[in-house]
Point group: C2
């Protein structure tokens, strides 16, 4: 039996997330995408056109991260950036091509995710989700 002091838990957490991200990117490479880019596409497919601020607030990352990733995605034909009415902001929307590819990539991602958690029952997955939510400096749930 292993010990599960906080150090072991955080160590394992980092290792697992690195492994997941690596595998995830590996799966997505067939589609010319990276994990972070997919999360933006998913977001845009779900909510429709969004400003950059909408995106980084939803994904909980900093603004420059989104600027950079969108620049790459625009270059690779995934998104279009247009100026909003408020001329400070940029409206982001998926290209036709991105929209067409969504369903196929989504299925691949879904299958990958299912595979990653196939060692867990759905009850355990639910538990895991709730425990994960409890982590944080304010002990919030």
């Amino acid at each position: 039996m292993q010990n599960f002091d906080t150090h072991s838990v955080f160590h394992l957490l980092h290792q697992q997330v690195r492994m997941i991200t690596k595998e995830f990117n590996n799966q997505l490479s067939d589609h010319g995408l990276y994990h972070s880019q997919w999360s933006i596409i998913f977001c845009l497919e779900k909510f429709g056109s969004m400003t950059q601020t909408d995106i980084w607030k939803y994904l909980n990352v900093e603004a420059p991260t989104i600027t950079r990733t969108l620049t790459r995605m625009e270059k690779n034909g995934w998104v279009i950036r247009t100026q909003g009415e408020d001329r400070r902001e940029r409206l982001i929307e998926l290209t036709e091509s991105a929209h067409e590819k969504f369903k196929e990539v989504n299925r691949a991602v879904y299958e990958f995710e299912q595979d990653m958690v196939k060692g867990m029952s759905s009850e355990e997955l639910k538990q895991f989700y709730h425990l994960l939510k409890k982590i944080g400096p304010k002990g919030e749930e």
Copy 2:
């Protein structure tokens, strides 16, 4: 009640890990360290002198990642790199200064980690650890 399909779980997982890493780095900045550097120091304090291969295999990252991080750590006076008997390999050891600072940083890290999981009982933490271990492409435990 939220849904906890796989997408929500992985989304939350990434967000939580980003948040944890950010907070962790924030705590460590007082000591002039980053999370990854600390994990190497911890490792060297625990196992003593190691080769770079020992380190990246233990931490489950690729070799170039360790090369880079050790270069910074050497520059900042945390480690010394000497040539091993096998002249291909580099032996890494903590500097006196790093060794001296270990205990203090370790306490700060410990307190930070305790704070992050204070919303969980020790039973829940144990459960979380075991559930986390179940994630993976081979469904291994």
